[in-house]
Symmetry: C2
Subunit: 240 residues, 2 copies
DNA sequence: CGAATTCTTGATAGCCCTCAAGATACGTGG
DNA sequence: CCACGTATCTTGAGGGCTATCAAGAATTCG
């Protein structure tokens, strides 16, 4: 059954031990398919479901007042997403399918009562959110002090880490149809700058860029781009 | 007794209801005084205590490789700090007293076992961490898309919100001996730029800057500096 | 095939950093 | 109380990085 598979995957990815995952066993997980570009919820909507990504990519984005947007997160299989809306039922970002995706909806109410019954699961989630907070601090450092090259390297390494954790076959090939305008939206750069930086990175042999498929050729070279900002041992952090 | 006062304050500040605060009643809180500039722990240290700020200001900073630093957080009375180290016992930032401070140390182990006994406290903490995560997303937006003026306005409004929540008498007077180099470190700007922006903000009548005491004269004008980045209703978010 | 989007490349402009020098304030010791 | 050193603040000049504007090539999609 799909649900048991998801639970097992979540257990390994979030270091929720077998006992703690009991929290998910009594909740109903409703499958939902989203087409590319379709939104699960928008800023201001009331969010009543967490969700688990089974196939595809989901992305969280903030819509800025001047028409720009800030991509905040990338959710791949098997990610549990929406934890930040346990407290705020009103969405502060828009959750959109980046490509055709299959997700499983988890009602917040059921999830919460599951947590009430399982103190160990609550602690695991506290750990997850604590780590995410630390990751966000690193991201602040990169956005505050890094140049365009450092930001792009940080993004690519973060996506690679995410694929690595979720056991993608070749983590160096980013299986995400990211256009350069998308990358620009994620990093607060202009598409033109992204293009220029990628030609430089390609000429240097650090990456290969083939429209919608980015291949990391030299991980340590990319790490060297970020090292002036954050220390080496933090490069395993995921983006989003 | 000091401890009961702290517990009550934490209860109101973190929306931890009276029942849930039972988590703190069985833990020992050890008072510790720190002189200005003294560090509680440094990056890489093993953190075995959360702490609650009773007097003064504490600040968390990341030390970057090129000798710069990124100020990440400001902790005022009555803040509970160090929650992100429930998962990572190794500190990822350095916690320093910004002025002479009195804090109460709370052993992580005792706090965790308290959480095990109190599911509602765990949920409250999940809410707190969830909100902090959302706040960090806003900060990402400002750092990625904002200019120097927007960043400074965002910082000032965030510090004001913090004083407001913690019931300082006049929240518009920032009671934090922040030098311009400090502000530069918090925002990834150069001290020179901070100085120029403050002279502009002063001439415009938005703030008053008197060496170590910043007074916000026009809240809505500052909000207007940030509004192009994040929407109006998010300005209540705290910095840090 | 045609329209829209994406990608590339060049030229220009603006913001912020760096360097530098002088002024002001703070703390310490005499 | 004063002198001194240190740190902070201000202001100017110059330079680098990235945004913007623009135009053309390549790709995708209907």
């Amino acid at each position: 059954m799909a649900k048991q598979y998801l639970i097992d995957s979540l257990a390994s990815n979030f270091e929720i031990d077998a006992d703690a995952t009991g929290v998910l066993e009594d909740v109903e997980m409703t499958p939902k398919r989203l087409l590319k570009g379709q939104s699960l919820f928008r800023t201001g909507d009331v969010v009543t479901n967490l969700f688990c990504v089974a196939e595809g990519w989901m992305t969280a984005a903030a819509e800025l007042e001047d028409g720009e947007r800030q991509l905040l997160n990338f959710h791949v299989p098997i990610d549990l997403a929406g934890l930040e809306f346990l407290s705020e039922s009103k969405a502060t970002s828009t959750m959109t399918a980046f490509e055709n995706s299959l997700i499983y909806l988890i009602p917040v109410s059921q999830f919460l009562s599951g947590l009430q019954r399982s103190p160990r699961a609550s602690l695991s989630l506290l750990n997850v959110l604590g780590r995410r907070y630390i990751t966000m601090q690193d991201r602040i450092c990169v956005f505050a002090h890094g140049d365009a090259k450092a930001k792009i390297a940080y993004l690519l390494l973060g996506l690679r880490s995410k694929q690595l954790r979720n056991k993608f076959k070749n983590p160096n090939v980013l299986r995400l149809p990211l256009t350069q305008p998308d990358i620009a939206d994620a990093l607060g750069l202009s598409p033109v700058t992204v293009s220029r930086e990628f030609t430089k990175l390609t000429k240097a042999g650090f990456v290969e860029y083939n429209r919608n498929e980015i291949t990391i050729k030299d991980v340590s070279a990319l790490e060297a781009c970020v090292t002036p900002i954050i220390t080496q041992d933090k490069h395993a952090d995921e983006f989003g």
